[in-house]
Amino acid sequence: MSLKEIQIGDKAKVIKLNGGLMFKKRAEALGIRVGSMIEKRSAQFMNGPITIKVGNTNIALGVGMAEKIIVEVL
């Protein structure tokens, strides 16, 4: 499942990053990499950005980005 599909409040583990090198680098810089634990915190209406928590950091990302992040709900 992608980060877009999981429910608000779900905790999940990142299992794959489906994107280009730049995307992966940026995600990694923000602490999102294979094995990271994330928690979905909110989603805007009409496919607006999603916010997640990684470690102690809150991150906002567009749905397109969220679709590239494959997770496994815990």
Binding site: M22, K25, R26, A27, E28, A29, L30, G31, R33, R41, S42, Q44, F45, M46, N47, G48, P49, T51, V54, G55, N56, T57, N58, I59, A60, L61, G62, V63, G64, M65
Partner: protein, 587 residues
């Protein structure tokens, strides 16, 4: 040892939002000389640390996640870093880390260690880490990394003394050479960071804090909208309240009671006439000076920036600084992201727009936070056309206020509609991509009052230094243009457009000329023209839209390049003609 240190530069480097600037401001102290150096690409903040009788240069590098930049703004930071590494005097690098996010921050630390440079690691937000249940073993981390590790709280200043005392202990790390394999792949980098974390950090499970609950509340689509309306409404009210109070109770009485008598004495020295008298004092009618109409350098030229604009600048930056320091703005950006994408920019572009309300110059500079050329172009153009700066807004308030709130509201509604329509059009026709938002949201923090006041003070000083001379120059130029009949000449030249299409008197061309220098003075020039409410509204709108002031233009030209600036300017002029004509027909 001090002597040796003072030959070196101190480079502060770290992830965004780790409190580098607070530490920078602590180190440079009260006598801080913070200068913004802007070449074509380089932009950094420098100041000086006093060491006994000597001083040491400190550079605050913009935040980066990695030495391999993934964004334009990071490229500039990396360039500053690389240049500092190349210098022969062994500059000292201070890697500032957010203690509440140790693992992610160590990525940059790891890259810095690999570069074999004199390094000190600073664990900032040390107190906050405690509150969020993170405990880090400082000594162990120091041993593993092989460089001094110092704990600080930049905002209160805790640990800063220890940092200064330890500057001479900065050293190259032996972390890598201790490891057997020097050839380290990406994967094992994170494994090594993971090992470090396991050894030095303990996490206590915590329930969501009040700050986090507040964060969720202000990001949630429904409650967030409510928060946004309250915050923006409150901001607007506070700005008006502070601005108007300062004008009515402090600055106007000061000018009337203390400055007018001085001016009348000077006027008497000139026997009340002559070119020099008119340039300095302007028209004195019945022994009275009208600060708005007289157009003298010492009367209007001082009154406009100090008594009409400065109060609103102060009020605006007080509120903006509070919003900036609290961490609310990125949340507002997320909330409006969907709407902004329709205009071809993502939600965070709301920040350049808000900064632009203070002054278009910092607004234009902050478009650097946007990633692609297309976004920068759209955001800059929209800001330059439809976001009036506080100086101009203050004048519009002052002059249109006499027609009631309705006139002011019409001006801003028109500008907002222009902003939306132009954004929709540019999103359709400007080539390139506008990537999605992908950013860190800082935690909510209670603004530290002292640093907030300091920031406010710096912005006020900046305004006085940058604006007042230009206003005076503007008033001088107006006088010269009138004396030389240049305004009459140009007025006849473009009369058909201004009068024919927009229904304005041809003298308005004078305001358009001066508007290139200062928009506030330009609005002030409309006073003696005796315009009707409709004409005031139209001229306020077109003065905002037709072209940026010279300060903004210079920055935009640098940021966008000549080709895009020409495109942007074409959009400005065309949309001004269209909007001016439509308003003339509709109102």
């Amino acid at each position: 040892m001090n002597k040796k240190l003072t030959n070196k530069k101190l480079m502060l480097i770290g992830n965004p939002n780790v409190g580098k600037s607070a530490i920078f401001s602590r180190l440079t102290g009260v006598k801080v000389i913070v200068s913004n150096y802007h070449g074509t690409t380089v932009e950094y903040t420098k100041g000086y640390l006093k060491l006994g009788d000597d001083r040491m240069e400190i550079v605050d590098i913009p935040g980066i996640y990695s030495l391999e930049p993934t964004m334009k703004a990071e490229e500039i930071a990396v360039k500053i870093f690389e240049e500092a590494v190349k210098e022969k005097n062994e500059n000292i690098f201070i890697n500032v880390i957010d203690s509440t996010n140790l693992e992610r921050n160590l990525n940059l630390t790891y890259e810095l260690i690999k570069r074999d440079i004199p390094l000190i690691v600073v664990l900032n937000f040390w107190d906050e880490a405690g509150h969020t249940g993170v405990s880090i073993n400082r000594e162990k981390l120091e041993n593993i990394l092989g460089v001094p590790v110092i704990t600080t709280c930049g905002i209160t200043g805790e640990g800063i003394k220890s940092l200064v005392d330890n500057l001479h202990n900065a050293k190259r790390s032996n972390f890598i050479s201790k490891r057997i394999s020097k050839d380290i792949t990406e994967k094992s980098k994170w494994e090594q960071i993971g090992e470090i974390i396991e050894q030095v950090q303990k996490l206590k499970h915590r329930h969501h804090t009040i700050g986090e609950k507040l964060s969720d509340f202000s990001i949630h689509p429904l409650s967030g909208l409510l928060v946004a309306i309250i915050v923006l409404g409150l901001s607007f009210s506070i700005i008006r309240l502070i601005g108007e109070s300062l004008i009515t109770y402090l600055l106007e009485p000061m000018f009337e009671n203390y400055w007018t008598p001085v001016l009348l004495k000077i006027s008497a020295l000139f026997n009340g006439n002559g070119i020099l008298h008119d340039i300095l004092i302007g028209q004195v009618i019945d022994g009275k000076i009208s600060y708005l109409d007289s157009m003298g350098m010492l009367s209007t030229g001082l009154f406009v920036p100090i008594a009409m604009i400065l109060p609103y600048i102060t009020a605006f930056y007080f509120v903006l600084s509070f919003l900036e320091d609290s961490g609310y703005l990125p949340r507002l950006g997320i909330l409006v992201d969907n709407l902004m994408h329709k205009l071809g920019i993502h939600g965070l572009a709301i920040i350049p727009m808000l900064l632009g309300i203070g002054c278009n110059v910092p607004g234009a500079l902050s478009t650097r936070m946007l990633e692609t050329r297309r976004e920068k172009f759209i955001a800059s153009t929209l800001m330059a056309i439809a976001v009036p700066c506080m100086a101009q807004i203050a004048m519009i308030f002052g002059l249109l206020g006499r027609y009631g709130l309705k006139a002011i509201i019409i001006v801003f509604v028109v500008l907002f509609v222009v902003w939306v329509i132009l954004g929709l059009l540019m999103n359709k026709f400007v080539k390139g991509t506008s990537p999605e938002i992908f950013t860190e949201i800082p935690p909510y923090r209670i603004p530290y009052f002292k640093s907030l006041l300091k920031k406010l003070w710096m912005r006020i000083v900046w305004f006085i230094k940058e604006a007042v001379p230009y206003v005076l120059l503007g008033v001088l130029i107006i006088n010269i243009l009138y004396v030389l009949h240049v305004i009459d000449f140009l007025g006849n030249l473009v009369g058909p457009i201004i009068t024919g299409l927009m229904g304005l008197p041809k003298e308005t061309v004078g305001a358009l000329i001066v508007g290139f220098l200062r928009k506030d003075v330009a609005v002030g020039m409309l006073v003696p023209l005796g315009l009707s409410m409709k004409q005031m509204i139209i001229s306020s709108v077109i003065l905002t839209m037709y072209f940026p002031c010279i300060a903004t233009f210079t920055v935009l030209l640098k940021e966008l390049g000549t080709k895009d600036m020409v495109k942007s300017a074409t959009i400005m002029i065309l949309s001004t003609l269209i909007v001016g004509t439509i308003l003339n027909l509709v109102l």
